[in-house]
């Protein structure tokens, strides 16, 4: 055993040596199979932006059909080929593929991977004061599994029978039977394969985020000193960790139904006059399994955006966030509730009305933590010293969208109302505002806010303002009118509207045209962002270390943080991240790493007591350094 000890010591000194030698990583290690969380975050971001443009352009194609059903789309033939039929319109089957892929891409590839993948990776180590993620290798694998999943999903856009077309929820039996529609053939197989890899990727990302937050916080960074961004990423990762595996099970069972003749979801089906042999399965079972992921998924999409908004609003209102602990509590409340409301997506499945009322009750409770959050954003802004950076505008935009989309959630959460509004454009309006647009605004706010730390340069402000106003007005112009078409009875996912009562479809022709025009303008204005983003990476104004005078730890790193983030020791943390405009303080912000002993002029009585603990916090340095050498 003594040999073991001496071995251990040897290994130890070796580890130290490695620390001091500098291996300059080659191009592939640095930019492709990088294990640096900052590079991986940028990889996710760039993939997310590319996917967003693909997903957005699909929506423009089907909006053309919905707004201008008579329009000649012959000019799209070079891209879509035979998906433009002989009469010069979008093929009906392909229309279904368009809505399906738009949903899949936006929900999973843009707002899950593009949002969580980017900012959890980028901000967790920087804001908690860690050198990198717990496991850089698993983090790298996570991105490359996502890349593989992306490649498969992307390739499915180009196959002859078209990509999956059963809606992003891929309900069986439609998705289970290749003879049901062309999109349920190879396209569906590729969809399921791609999603299986996506789940693996999100699992590896998620365990890394959780373990990094638990184990690698810098000395002094207690859980209640963490920025709200980190709290939101933490809960997001937990949501993903517990809900994605259920989708994996659902998808595996579906694969067996599709390819190996089992009947988990299939029973007593006639197709094209032929009875299928399958008996004993249940299509509703799939819906339960799917929505056990599907509902938490909307919070996986939304929570990171809410967390970043908290941070950006506090920084740019120059005020502490209102109700820090209430914000954590409401994030926690939303996380718990997210798992027990899934059946509100299934009110029309013939569910027992009593069970429906239970799910309705639980659903409406979500309004409480959501309202706490909205209230706290507004009270943080209230009488703040507002600085309208583009990031701030997008954050305020998020609050607006979160509220106006959220109130319709209360309407749809009522089973009696939902039975009427189910699968209409009212639902489309609701979730595009509260989850789609709000999360997208969070993503944009995050990019504008953390761009200086990502690329060492500033984005152009003026272009940012134009981008914001075009997007903000545009998003409302697109989705607000859908409430009216929804109440009028327009069903979602339909190719054309021909038989509404009293020829109702004609009364809304102009509104549908308006939506389409607004969608085209909104989508086009994203080019401004794209230009700004790419231009600023190379030619933007050089950033300073802390351009927004922010408190969190990432702004204590150099302009271009290298591998390991801090060149010297990782700073210790002594205070919460929201000491903005503190009475008595010289400057209007006191970063987290400034000890209370250095700010006697602004300390509150209870903070003076904290001074005694500073020695103990500093004494943890040895333990912390040790943890990186093992």
């Amino acid at each position: 055993m003594s040999t073991a000890i001496s071995h251990a010591e040897e290994v130890h000194t070796h580890a130290h040596d490695h620390e001091h030698e500098h291996h300059e990583p080659n191009f592939i290690q640095k930019y492709i199979f990088s294990e640096d969380h900052k590079t991986i975050a940028k990889q996710y971001l760039i993939m997310g932006i590319l996917w967003a443009f693909i997903g957005g352009s699909l929506s423009i194609m089907f909006r053309l059909q919905l707004g201008f059903p008579e329009m000649q789309l012959e000019w799209l033939r070079p891209i879509l080929g035979s998906w433009i039929d002989e009469s010069g319109k979008i093929d009906k089957e392909f229309y279904l593929a368009l809505v399906t892929m738009h949903g899949t891409i936006m929900v999973f590839f843009v707002l899950t991977a593009g949002l969580s993948g980017t900012f959890s990776n980028f901000l967790i180590p920087l804001q908690i004061g860690a050198r990198d993620m717990a496991s850089g290798f698993i983090n790298m694998l996570s991105f490359w599994f996502f890349f593989l999943s992306s490649a498969i999903m992307f390739s499915s856009l180009f196959i002859e029978t078209g990509p999956a077309s059963g809606g992003w929820v891929i309900y069986p039996p439609l998705s289970a039977l290749p003879q049901a529609m062309p999109g349920s053939g190879l396209g569906m197989t590729l969809w399921l394969t791609s999603m299986a890899f996506f789940i693996v990727s999100s699992l590896m990302g998620g365990i890394n985020y959780i373990c990094t937050i638990i184990n690698l916080r810098t000395r002094g960074m207690t859980f209640t000193k963490m920025p709200l961004t980190i709290w939101s990423f933490f809960f997001t990762a937990i949501l993903g960790l517990l809900s994605f595996p259920v989708l994996l099970s659902a998808a595996l069972l579906l694969i067996f139904d599709r390819s190996f003749g089992t009947s988990f979801y299939l029973s007593e089906i006639y197709i094209q006059g032929q009875a299928l042999p399958n008996v004993g399965g249940s299509a509703i079972l799939y819906q339960h399994l799917f929505w056990f992921l599907g509902h938490p998924e909307v919070y996986i999409v939304l929570l990171p955006a809410l967390g970043m908004t908290s941070e950006i609003i506090a920084t740019n209102a120059r005020k502490p966030i209102f109700g820090y602990r209430a914000m954590i509590g409401s994030l926690m409340g939303i996380t718990v509730l997210a798992f027990i409301v899934w059946a509100h997506h299934m009110f029309v499945t013939g569910m027992n009305p009593f069970l429906g009322s239970v799910f309705m009750f639980l659903t409406l409770i979500i309004a409480v933590p959501s309202a706490v959050k909205a209230f706290n954003y507004i009270t943080t802004l209230w009488k703040g010293n507002l600085i309208f950076t583009p990031a701030m505008l997008f954050s305020i935009g998020l609050v607006s969208l979160f509220i106006s989309g959220g109130v319709t959630g209360i309407i749809l959460g009522n089973s009696a109302l939902d039975i009427n509004l189910h699968d209409t454009y009212f639902v489309v309006a609701h979730f595009h505002l509260v989850m789609g647009s709000a999360s997208f605004f969070g993503l944009m706010a995050g990019v504008y806010h953390w761009f200086p730390k990502m690329f060492g340069r500033m984005m152009n402000k003026t272009l940012g303002y134009i981008h914001f106003w075009a997007t903000f007005v545009g998003v409302y112009a697109v989705f607000f009118p859908m409430h009216y078409t929804g109440i009028a009875g327009f069903p979602r996912r339909y190719y054309s509207f021909t038989a509404l009562g009293n020829d109702g479809q004609n009364a809304f022709t102009d509104l549908n045209q308006f939506i389409t025009v607004a969608a085209i303008l909104t989508f086009s204005s994203q080019a401004i962002f794209f230009f700004n983003f790419v231009y600023s990476i190379f030619k933007g104004k050089k950033a300073t270390e802390n351009p927004w005078n922010s408190n969190t730890l990432e702004w204590t790193t150099p302009v271009d943080p290298g591998h390991g983030n801090w060149p010297g020791e990782i700073p210790a943390v002594y205070r919460w991240p929201y000491d903005y405009s503190k009475p008595g303080a010289e400057s209007d912000f006191i970063p987290q790493h400034i000890p209370f002993s250095a700010t006697p002029e602004s300390n509150l009585p209870e903070e003076n007591e904290e001074i005694a603990k500073e020695k103990a916090i500093e004494s943890l340095l040895a333990a912390q350094n040790e943890s990186y050498n093992r």
Binding site: A134, L203, G220, L242, L285
Partner: protein
């Protein structure tokens, strides 16, 4: 030797102050725990699927003695799983699966001993107990293969098999697969193959991991590293796979 990887001494009141591992577990061990939590939900979804389909099908209403195989009611497990290798023709309900379960649980015990040997830094003992765990894992997989083969083959006496109607003629169902089942509704076979297969895949990957660990221990990788934590991490996975089997066993064989 766990000395090298033990968390540096941090006073109890400072464990959650950052700069240390508050749960006294390395990130690798935490990751395994969270992965297992996630995997729990995968298996839960499958077992809930089993429950939902099982209880949407009619159960056998008569006494167990009168029971016969038919697609019209869910089979009684004791009647399906009653064969033991080399004891041909003797009805021994659930004996073989009991032996399988015992083997798997015994392999958990040997895994515990391997982990314990790792704590002592006793390379010889780690090797010995890992080897026994691997043997246990392979024995379980082999037994499962036999169990599957027997299930696929169907009842020895074809007249006992459930009947189906082909072109108006009532014929017994020959052999089980994912589409038909001589013991009862096809859903029973679907779920049996899928869930025990999914568990078997987990056991199989566990055995592969165990072999890797054994190899690393035998070539002295962990001795050079100064600790045997990898044995512990894979041990967690192995115990989890055993625990899941207890649930799978309960659902398919006992309920």
């Amino acid at each position: 030797m766990s000395v090298a990887h033990a968390a540096p001494a941090v006073p109890e009141n400072l464990t959650w102050q950052g700069g240390s591992e508050p749960l006294k577990a390395s990130y690798g061990k935490l990751m395994m725990w969270f992965f297992l939590l996630s995997d729990t939900f995968t298996f839960s979804a499958l077992l809930i699927t089993y429950g939902m389909i099982r209880f949407s099908q009619p159960a056998w209403q008569g006494t167990p003695d009168d029971f016969y195989f038919s697609t019209a009611h869910w089979p009684i497990p004791e009647k399906v799983f009653e064969a033991v290798p080399f004891l041909h023709g003797i009805s021994l309900p659930l004996v073989f699966v009991g032996i399988m379960t015992f083997i798997l649980i015994a392999s958990s015990v040997t895994m515990v001993l391997a982990v314990e040997a790792g704590h002592r830094g006793d390379r010889k003992d780690v090797e010995k107990w890992m080897l026994w765990t691997i043997v246990g894992g392979f024995t379980f997989l082999g037994s499962q293969a036999w169990e599957w083969t027997h299930f696929i083959h169907g009842p020895e006496d074809l007249t006992l098999a459930a009947k189906q109607v082909i072109d108006g003629v009532i014929t017994p169902i020959e052999g089980a697969n994912l589409v038909r089942n001589p013991y009862g509704p096809p859903a029973f076979a679907d779920l049996f193959f899928f869930i025990t297969g999914f568990h078997g895949t987990h056991v199989f990957s566990g055995v592969i991991l165990n072999i890797l660990i054994f190899f690393n221990a035998a070539t002295g990788v962990y001795e050079r590293r100064g600790h045997y934590e990898m044995v512990e991490k894979v041990g967690l996975y192995w115990h989890f796979v055993d625990l899941v089997w207890v649930f799978v066993f309960t659902f398919f064989y006992l309920v």
